[in-house]
């Protein structure tokens, strides 16, 4: 599958930003779980609720562990490439995917930035086509804005209805 390797990678800061946002999520998750444990004792929930809470706790622990490893693989697997005809995006860790979207079918381009991404000066890009939407999660601000312009330009150049 080497011939499908794409030119551009995400911003290296994606790694840290992802780790931080995931960690915040995980901490919130743990707080909720602790709350559930407390409520379980306080309100005397039936026995099956124990199993549900314990199950959720185990799954959450595995998820937390995975979230420390995942960003590295995600970073490695994400790639994109753009020319006048096509936008290509590849991603996926356990299942790798390569998507090819012709510029003629691009309907809209959106960039987005949350507070953590702002701290690292990152932006995400979302491309909507006639049938689906694809995103590139984190690019350096400058790169992202430039990419948006190029996408908009190429897509507009070939704005023909089939």
């Amino acid at each position: 599958m080497e011939h499908l390797a794409l030119e551009n990678k995400l911003s290296p800061a994606f790694f840290k930003a992802r780790l931080i946002s995931e960690s915040i999520g995980n901490v919130i998750g743990f707080i909720i779980l602790i709350g559930l444990f407390w409520m379980k004792g306080y309100f005397n929930w039936p026995e099956w609720a124990d199993w549900l809470v314990i199950g959720a706790f185990v799954i959450h622990c595995i998820g937390t562990f995975w979230s420390f490893i995942e960003p590295k693989f995600l970073y490695q697997s994400w790639g994109y490439q753009l020319d006048r005809e096509f936008l290509q995006i590849s991603h996926g860790v356990l299942k790798k995917e390569w998507v090819t979207v012709p510029m003629t079918k691009v309907q809209s381009v959106t960039t987005s930035q949350g507070p953590i991404m702002k701290a690292y000066q990152l932006r995400g890009i979302k491309v909507e086509t006639m049938g689906s939407s694809h995103s590139i999660p984190a690019l350096d601000e400058q790169v992202a804005l430039e990419l948006r312009e190029r996408l908009a330009e190429y897509a507009k150049l070939k704005d023909v209805e089939e």
């Binding site: 005809e85 096509f86 356990l94 790798k96 390569w98 003629t104 049938g131 689906s132």
Partner: protein, 494 residues
């Protein structure tokens, strides 16, 4: 223009038909019940019906439509003023249904579908005269014809006079008697006798108060071998005849015709339906074959449209559902000359079979887990759960092997076509420029066998994704290269 006044009557008829079961349930069957759900349900139902009736009347007074050279303009004014403009060029397909109710007055209904999604994505005329329907249809069609021609030269401006749709185009297909008979057996339509008999028995049981009487009759019957034989033969005959009647009324008046630019499909005896699509707006073709149809060498061909298609008992966009393979290929090539179907296709390598067989089956795993937990005993056999699990496993394996055997694919010029599927298999054919996206994927398991999955996406009311699993990497390379070559050609033309 205002919609035809009988639209009101038609909508009321629809309202009556749709709420009939609910009324029967709430007021007759549960009429005495004082359970709060039924009690308030009765009030709610009355309120809804009154509301609908007010809406039907007021909407008729406030909704109008008009048209110009390029588009329809719809005006609604019930509570919020609203104007919608739909350009003729955006219309993807036209369907018209003529129910018995319409026939009573000699009218019809017509719907223009676009590829947009939302509330105002289509224009429906619930009740129009046949002439007016034809006129509207021609209006939209002539425009699209004009627009393609006018790109080259802008001369023709006088619209061609409206003709009856019956006389238009060349008829390419009407089922022969033999084909109908074959269709009747393939669809197992003679099984229709089972529900009819049970219904009849229910009535008969009420009429015969004394069951002992006909029990005795039954034993007499069994003893008299000849009489029994005659009755069985008669039952089979009746079953076949009923099946034939069903098939003939459903598929008998089938007619596929076409002009240079449009395809027309007409079907139905009691409830007629017409489907019209512009040839250039056909997004792709789908050949579908159930196990039964494969045995008889028959196939159903559907035209894929970007607009919405109302699902009925028989889907309107289907060319005849019981075409012989050869006839189907021939029909497609005459109706849509830009499609040329390849009969020689590539098959999957053996590695794909391993990849298919080793993939974990989630359905089987979950089903087995549930069975193992609940251990349902069927017919007092304790070990049923693992027998069921085993049967399911065999079914999964057989379906995968069939998928491996059935899968065939090829790329020729600007066209892609592939067969895939287990118990029911289908052929999908489309053109490069109709594909809006391709996606390749490889799981870790597929990596071991050096295979991958590829999928195409086409425009449809819900985007149509066609996946073919476990293709060799060579084909994947070929597909991406083929797709990438797409726009360079387009640029040359532009």
């Amino acid at each position: 223009m205002r919609y035809h006044p009988l639209t009101i009557l038609f909508r009321i008829y629809q309202l009556v038909r749709n709420s009939f079961v609910l009324v029967l349930f709430l007021f007759v069957i549960k009429g005495q019940s004082e359970f709060w759900l039924f009690e308030y349900g009765r009030y709610a139902l009355i309120a809804v019906i009154i509301w609908r009736i007010i809406y039907i009347f007021s909407s008729w007074f406030t909704e109008t439509y008009q048209w110009d050279d390029h588009s329809f303009h719809l005006r609604k004014n019930v509570f919020v003023k609203q104007t919608t403009t739909i350009a003729f060029s955006k219309i993807q397909n036209v369907t018209s249904h003529t129910t018995i109710f319409h026939k009573l007055f000699g009218y019809t209904s017509i719907t223009f579908e676009t590829a947009m999604d939302g509330i105002d994505d289509s224009i429906t005329f619930d009740f129009v005269s046949k002439q007016h329907a034809t006129f509207l249809k021609e209006l939209a069609q002539n425009h699209s014809k004009k627009s393609t021609v006018n790109d080259v030269e802008e001369k023709e401006s006088t619209p061609t006079p409206a003709k009856e749709p019956e006389q238009k185009g060349v008829i390419y297909f009407t089922p022969s008697k033999r084909e109908l008979v074959r269709a009747s057996f393939t669809s197992l339509s003679f099984l229709i006798i089972i529900p009819i008999i049970t219904k009849l028995y229910e009535y008969a049981a009420q009429l015969l108060p004394n069951p002992e009487q006909y029990n005795g009759l039954f034993y007499q019957l069994v003893e008299n071998k000849l009489l029994l034989f005659i009755i069985i033969v008669a039952a089979v005959l009746i079953a076949v005849i009923l099946g034939l009647i069903k098939t003939f009324t459903r598929y008998g008046k089938y007619k596929i015709s076409a002009t240079d630019t449009h395809i027309f499909i007409k079907k139905g005896m009691m409830n007629e339906s017409h489907f019209t699509i512009e040839k250039s707006k056909v997004q792709g073709l789908e050949f579908q074959q159930s196990m039964m149809k494969r045995i008889f060498g028959l196939v159903e061909v559907r035209l894929i449209s970007a607009g919405k298609i109302a699902e009925d008992s028989v889907s309107v966009n289907s060319l005849y559902p019981f075409l012989s393979m050869q006839r189907a290929y021939h029909l497609v090539e005459t109706l849509l000359p830009e499609y040329s179907l390849e009969k020689e296709m590539e098959r999957l390598p053996l590695a794909s079979l391993y990849s298919k067989l080793f993939r974990p089956s989630w359905i089987w795993l979950i089903a087995t887990a549930c069975l193992a937990y609940f251990k349902p005993a069927f017919l007092q056999i304790q070990s049923t759960w693992w027998i069921v699990s085993l049967l399911l496993f065999i079914l999964v394996v057989v379906s995968r092997v069939l998928d491996y055997v059935n899968t065939q694919y090829t790329i020729a010029n600007d066209q892609i076509q592939w067969w895939h599927g287990g118990f029911t298999n289908q052929l999908f054919v489309t053109k490069k420029r109709k594909v809006i996206e391709i996606c390749c994927s490889q799981t870790l398991l597929q990596k071991i066998w050096n295979v991958a999955s590829v999928s195409t996406m086409n425009r449809s009311s819900t985007p149509r994704v066609e996946v073919i699993d476990d293709v060799p990497l060579d084909f994947l390379k070929k597909l991406t290269a083929w797709y990438a070559a797409h726009d360079t050609q387009m640029n040359k033309r532009a």
